[in-house]
Amino acid sequence: MNKVVEINGLTKKYKDQIAVNNVSFMLEANKIYGLLGRNGAGKTTIMHMITAQAFPTSGELKVFGENPYENNRVLTQLCFIKESQKYPDNYRVIDVLDVSSTFFPNWDREFAFALIEDFRLPLKRRVKKLSRGMLSAVGIIVGLASRAPVTIFDEPYLGLDAVARGLFYDRLLDDYAENPRTIVLSTHLIDEVSKLLEHVIVINSGEVILNEDAEELRGQASTVVGAAAKAEAFAMGRTIIHRESMGGLASVTFMGRLDAEDRRQAEELGLEIAPVSLQQLVVHLTKSNHKNKEAVSL
């Protein structure tokens, strides 16, 4: 197992505000990770620390086995694409590519220009004059063409339409297959990316509440719908993460896999079983703070 990022007890405080609280996880080489959670959960702060743009208050952080701060050996191996990347006012799209090519040792010029065509970006236009979606596309192109061993995309697609996002997923998968590297995707569009992820880390209120293989998570939660009393009876003894009711009907979502016997029982009770997508699971786990940490011990 080749660890590219190791985080141990990482904490970041701003005055009395704890943004990241005692977070530990690691990223292995050549996997695609989803770093998920609500706005303000602490995801971006964690990514800033990994990429040496913020100092931890305490805890240990190693990137390629070294401290990333002012460490060029490490920093040239990292590519961090932010939601709203700023460029100097006079930069044109071509200038962004030129600067990127000098910074990233694995930069693939041909790939970058192919992506420019794919996303139909005007090379000579000033970045300042680009639309929001075009600006996002510039970030995506830099992120992909950098081929950095650790590439982080933090909400890379503001203003990008569904077609352009689909293009991003296609190119990402194609290029990742040819040139495996560690990719971190932080996004709210979980349904769109869930099939791309190999591993999922969920952050809530500055803490890691879920750190699991994406395939393990599929089928890990279920919803039963039916007569309220029966649905409740069926879910009894399970960790319930969501409830909704309407008249005498209830829908109860809980953790845990259902086996054939469970399914038979549900059918006998006249209950319908619905799968819970990764997005729904994350929504349920992060919508409130109460006791959800226990809910996710699988």
Partner: protein, 124 residues
Amino acid sequence: MSLQMDDSRPIFVQIAERIENDIIDGAMPEESQVPSTNQFAAFYQINPATAAKGVNLLVDLGILYKRRGIGMFVATGAKARLMEQRKEHFFEQYVVTMISEAKKLGITVDQLTDMIRRGESRHE
């Protein structure tokens, strides 16, 4: 759409099932080369590691085999073996369930056989 994955089960299991279906209905004949894991990944827009896991599941079962440096191929006899498995599965899933339901309704085995014949004539 058929490319949609079922959220309740691991994707690699679903990939393995799709390959099995293609072998059973002849879309992937024995000794033919199956797409690479990267092709599967691109086609279904899934993580290549997940696609590899599905393919490897079938390699472990002897349904697919690897030719070094060339790729994955459908093993000879794979179709017959999969059909056997599916028949066993059919027995468990449909026949056993049908008989237990028939018992509940007081349907005898003879009546059941009649019903099957009737169903068959309607199917033609």
